[in-house]
């Protein structure tokens, strides 16, 4: 059963610390997305890649967030330094064609 795998599932960190979230897209999927979900903003698109090339990161705060795809099996989302307002669930999704499939999310709490 193919699925998008995200790590860590839960993370509590102190303000100012670096946080790295990882995503393994479904094998063969060439489009990878990072979304953030909060109660106030719903599901926001942060960035996405196609064939490992970044296509749109306009939703991402550039000063502290960065997203990369070192290879086709790994996408990373890094926050440095983290702030309490970054507390949210971060979802990775991947797709090939029209439909995209989500991972279970990384639940981040910054205290």
């Amino acid at each position: 059963d193919a699925r998008v795998t995200q790590t860590p599932r839960h993370k509590v960190t102190e303000m100012g610390q670096e946080v790295t979230m990882r995503c393994q897209p479904i094998l063969g999927h060439n489009t990878v997305f990072w979304y953030r979900q909060t109660m106030m903003q719903g599901l926001e698109l942060l960035a996405y890649f196609r064939n490992r090339a970044p296509l749109d990161d306009s939703g991402m705060p550039k000063d502290r967030f960065s997203a990369e795809m070192p290879d086709a099996t790994l996408a990373t989302l890094k926050i440095q330094p983290s702030e309490p307002r970054d507390s949210a669930v971060y979802f990775c999704a991947s797709g090939f064609g029209n439909t995209i499939y989500f991972g279970e999310g990384s639940w981040l709490t910054v205290v």
Binding site: G42, L45, S58
Partner: protein, 112 residues
């Protein structure tokens, strides 16, 4: 980021009744739409999709209707079951992109 957020409407239906969940999308030129179901503590799960050149598509117990004139999507769930309780999101794909923009979401509560 791009999103439509804030207030989450709730729909309560009796078990066995049909449910209709509505969604207004923003871009009249969006070419593809997906409905997702999100259960508590989980990621959004694909339910059904529809292309902009269609106005109706049916799946197992679900039907999606697309009205491009008023930029409206609906998801119909037949014979709603307790397991259907979740938050439902519609997502649109703006033309010339691969990205998906999500709506606010609707919480469906199934009453026994």
């Amino acid at each position: 980021g791009e999103s439509v957020g804030l207030h989450l409407p709730t729909l309560s239906v009796q078990e066995g009744d049909n449910s209709i969940i509505n969604c207004a999308y923003s871009n009249s030129a969006s070419d593809y739409f997906i409905w997702y179901k999100q259960e508590s503590g989980k990621g959004p799960q694909f339910i059904i999709d529809i292309r902009s050149n269609m106005d109706k598509r049916q799946g197992q117990r679900v039907t999606v209707l697309l009205n491009k004139t008023v930029k409206h999507l609906s998801l119909q769930i037949a014979a709603t079951q307790p397991g259907d309780s979740a938050v439902y999101f519609c997502a649109e794909r703006p033309p010339g992109t691969y990205k998906y923009i999500f709506g606010t979401g609707t919480r469906l509560k199934v009453l026994a």
